[in-house]
């Protein structure tokens, strides 16, 4: 499947990402250079643990059948065997120790690899906010809600969060990194296969934590650039109400606001324009240009009655053109 056909499919029927079938029993498919390394350790441990658990189970079973008492009344006396054996005990302490050292070294190497982005990697910004991932690409002013990357290219994702902790998790890449408000973290990867893969939020962040999903779209060579330039062109050209509608999806307003009148985390936008809204703590406000602007720049300033101060600020994230677009869009929702 080329990435364009994926995108077409997504456009017509968006929503749930899908985890592709995996050739492995335990793990999802491996789509990064890191995956093989960490899976090797995982598999080695799985087999090692299976052997270890089987051995203990066998020993238990064997002893329980072989040395099972006839009855209490028989008053059997345990056979002679030593009550400790230093050589044996040292052996079974030393062997696990070596196993552990080997595992530690393996894990350490892999971790250093995971945590050290190669020089010259392509950079994409990811922002976690309740409950949407936003990805910002070089040269593109508005963020996108999916992560697009070219195949076989080193990509570094610089992550932060707006409100609470989140964690960017892409199982097929075997990478994960917390998004922490007030600081930047990063991860890197090199995707080895094209396709559409799930992104999860792996750090608990409230109500819709489990719906904070997104798509990782790995483009075949060349198509990423095409996608980016198309998107830039499109994003700049859209204005007015259409721009508002676009931002409604891409900025994640849709996670909290509906356009059909049903309240979600925030009030629905349907028919609010010009209406007078009661506020927590008394008073009321008419929804007009200034109020919408304030709701975006300083959402905690006035809280609509019956709602919590859950809305993140969009200060610095929306241009004048964007705000105008949102205002037009809300106006249009009669």
């Amino acid at each position: 499947m080329t990435s364009m056909s994926i995108l077409l499919a997504l456009a017509s029927e968006p929503k749930l990402p899908k985890l592709p079938d995996s050739p492995y029993f335990w793990m999802p498919p491996r789509v990064s250079t890191i995956a093989a390394d960490s899976d090797f350790l995982y598999e080695a441990m799985t087999w090692g643990s299976a052997v270890c658990a089987a051995a203990i189970f066998y020993a238990m079973w064997h002893f329980c059948t072989k040395y099972r008492a006839k009855s209490r009344a028989a008053n059997e006396v345990a056979g002679q065997s030593s009550e400790h054996n230093t050589a044996l005990e040292i052996t079974w302490s030393i062997i696990p120790l070596f196993v552990c050292i080997a595992l530690f070294v393996g894990g350490f190497k892999g971790f250093v690899d995971i945590r050290t982005p190669p020089k010259g990697a392509m950079e994409i910004r990811a922002t976690g906010q309740k409950w949407k991932w936003l990805f910002t690409y070089p040269g593109l002013g508005t963020p996108e809600d999916m992560l697009h990357v070219p195949v076989n290219t080193n990509v570094r994702i610089v992550i932060n969060a707006v409100d609470v902790l989140h964690s960017l998790y892409m199982p097929v890449l075997r990478v994960k990194m917390d998004a922490v408000p007030g600081r930047y973290t990063d991860l890197w990867f090199k995707a080895t296969e094209t396709g559409d893969f799930p992104i999860f939020c792996a750090e608990y962040c409230g109500t819709s934590h489990s719906d904070m999903l997104s798509h990782l779209i790995v483009h075949p060579p060349g198509e990423y650039e095409t996608w980016l330039s198309n998107t830039i062109a499109k994003a700049d050209s859209v204005t007015g109400k259409d721009r508002g509608a676009m931002l409604y999806e891409k900025q994640g307003c849709s996670t909290c606001h509906t356009t059909d009148g049903t309240p979600k985390v925030g009030p629905s936008w349907k028919g609010i324009w010009g209406k007078s809204e009661s506020m927590t703590g008394g008073g009321s406000v008419t929804v007009d240009e200034n109020y919408v602007r304030e709701s975006l720049m300083d959402p905690q300033a006035k809280i609509v009655l019956g709602f919590t101060p859950a809305m993140p600020t969009y200060k610095g994230k929306l241009s004048e053109k964007d705000i105008d677009g949102i205002i037009e869009y809300i106006k249009s929702l009669k």
Partner: protein
């Protein structure tokens, strides 16, 4: 090898219900509510903890039922989030931390030391009421607007969510002090109230385990206290210690939290080691293998447990160097634990094995804990943890060690000491059936979660991709089996209180001191302080089974005054 000198009057013939014992010594609610007797306090703890367990377990069943299908099944997002938070918080703070030490330990520890009580009986009662206060606070949160932060209370979510975080966190704070006081009491008791002749290396392994646990309780718990206090103040006064918007550091909270909560996992499991260490030799009729190694490895685990907290934070943004150090020390803990597992297994070699209910639980523990522990090692491998952290793999790991380890041992201990504590035998057939149901249910519930997690299913997910549904359903059916097992257990244990056979003083043939006083023990435990002349697992050959009383008596010709 001489049997204890007080055998003659201590291994009293069975006590009949009319005898004066701690259950019948005083009557009325007040005689329980204000009692200073360790056994009564232990019994009150036991009942309270089991109620909390039933509540936490009920929440778990609701969680599992919700997870039968992706999306909405029976409850909504927010309720789900509140459920798993309360499930986790109740199970951890109300059930498993006080479970073995405060409930079983209170009843058994002074008996095993031949003492009349713990060192500070008033403090002991105070701990119990602190527990009650903590429980009430947690339930208050449930009643107002149940806390939804996860049991970890991570900031800044916990300082900004609109649910009742403060009562729950304050509850955990109070429960911390309950735990500290129990630990303090036990340390002093073990140091100062051992009977003549009981040297450190003649202490039963249960006592060793409680001692190690108590050290962790005293040293780690204050830190969670102050951390929760800071979090509460942050939430109410916005002092900016953890809140990034005010110049604080949210990751600092995680460091503080895990500085306690990692050692706390050993508060949960080390007493379980003690129970297993007591059960296996008695039911194998053979001295425990490598007593000293087992005893000292508890201390090693307690010590190392303080140095590994960062393994919960490999992807939190902590430095690579810090992660490396934490990972390395984490592996070291596997060694003392391995010693224990191998020694217990070796104890059965050439034994005379009785597969009664306590032993079945001990065997279940051995195997299930091994799996839980080994998967802990997966998580300690940094590169693998990056993929597995915050997925169901972690959920499976900690249920294997907590539910499969600590709770299984609690059940084992409960069945083992039930005749001693209440003077009645339960229905053995039912007991075995219960143990088997729990063992099967446990594996069916939590094994699929290893697969789920490895395949990328994140934890704390109300909704999930349809790809994961089959394994979730399997897990849910396992949980129902578990529920059935525990219900059955609750039923026959309750029934035995009235209808059970009268228990002899020593139904299993144990040689630790608690089996030397009648069942149930009299108010003052021992009329004469026993003098210890042998190790805790010596002298099985000096006991003979008497079918008439259904228990063991000293071998007549060998018993000396």
């Amino acid at each position: 090898m001489a049997s204890p000198s007080t055998t003659a009057d201590a291994v009293a013939p069975r006590s009949s219900p009319g005898d004066d014992n701690y259950l019948t010594h005083d009557k009325g609610i007040a005689s329980w509510a204000f009692t200073l007797d360790h056994k009564r306090i232990g019994v009150m703890y036991l009942i309270s903890v089991l109620c909390a367990f039933a509540l936490g377990g009920t929440f778990a069943l609701i969680l599992r039922t919700e997870l039968l299908t992706p999306g909405h099944t029976i409850i909504d997002h927010d309720t789900y989030n509140q459920m798993f938070t309360l499930h986790g918080a109740i199970m951890v703070f109300l059930v498993i931390i006080p479970g073995i030490p405060a409930a079983l330990g209170n009843i058994i520890l002074p008996l095993q030391l031949g003492a009349k009580d713990v060192a500070f009986p008033r403090l002991n009662l105070a701990s119990y009421y602190l527990w009650i206060t903590g429980a009430v606070l947690m339930l208050t949160s449930l009643a107002i607007n149940a806390v939804d932060t996860g049991w970890t209370f991570y900031t800044p979510y916990s300082t900004t969510t609109s649910t009742a975080v403060v009562p729950a966190a304050f509850g955990a704070f109070v429960l911390g002090f309950s735990s500290i006081f129990t630990g303090l009491n036990f340390i002093v008791t073990i140091h100062k109230l051992r009977p003549p002749g009981m040297t450190w290396f003649r202490m039963p392994l249960f006592v060793w385990a409680l001692y190690s646990t108590a050290l962790i309780q005293v040293l780690a718990t204050p830190v969670i206290g102050i951390t929760l206090l800071m979090m509460i103040v942050e939430r109410t006064l916005h002092i900016g210690i953890f809140d990034p918007a005010l110049g604080g550091d949210p990751v600092l909270f995680q460091h503080f939290f895990w500085f306690y909560s990692h050692p706390a996992v050993y508060i949960m499991v080390v007493p379980a080691f003690g129970v297993i260490g007591d059960i296996i030799p008695v039911f194998s009729r053979k001295k425990i293998f490598g007593y000293k190694f087992i005893a000292v490895s508890s201390l090693a685990i307690a010590f190392l447990g303080f140095l590994v907290w960062g393994h919960h934070m490999f992807v939190s943004g902590q430095s690579v160097l810090a992660g490396t150090i934490f990972s390395a020390i984490t592996f070291l803990i596997a060694i003392p634990t391995a010693i224990k597992v191998f020694n217990w297994t070796a104890t059965m070699y050439k034994g005379v094995i009785h597969l009664d209910t306590p032993m079945l639980y001990a065997l279940a523990f051995l195997w299930v804990f091994t799996i839980g522990g080994l998967t802990g090692v997966f998580l300690a491998v940094m590169s693998v943890d990056v993929h597995l952290t915050d997925t169901y793999f972690v959920v499976a790991h900690f249920h294997y060690v907590m539910m499969g380890g600590a709770i299984t041992a609690l059940m084992g201990g409960l069945h083992y000491w039930w005749p001693k504590a209440f003077g009645r035998m339960y229905d053995e057939k039912m007991g075995r059936l219960g143990a088997i149901l729990v063992f099967i249910g446990l594996n069916v519930t939590f094994f699929p979660q290893f697969i789920l997690g490895s395949r990328g299913m994140p934890r704390r997910y109300y909704n999930y991709l349809p790809e994961f549904q089959h394994l979730h359903m399997l897990s849910t059916f396992g949980a129902y089996t578990l529920g059935a097992g525990f219900l059955l257990t609750a039923y026959f244990l309750a029934k035995s209180l009235k209808h059970g056979k009268i228990a002899p003083a020593n139904p299993w043939g144990g040689t630790t001191l608690e089996w030397q006083c009648p069942s149930p023990p009299p108010y003052y435990n021992f009329t004469k302080t026993p003098v210890v002349t042998q190790g805790p697992y010596d002298g099985y050959e000096n006991l003979v089974y008497d079918e008439k009383i259904g228990g063991y008596l000293p071998r007549p010709n060998k018993a000396e005054a």
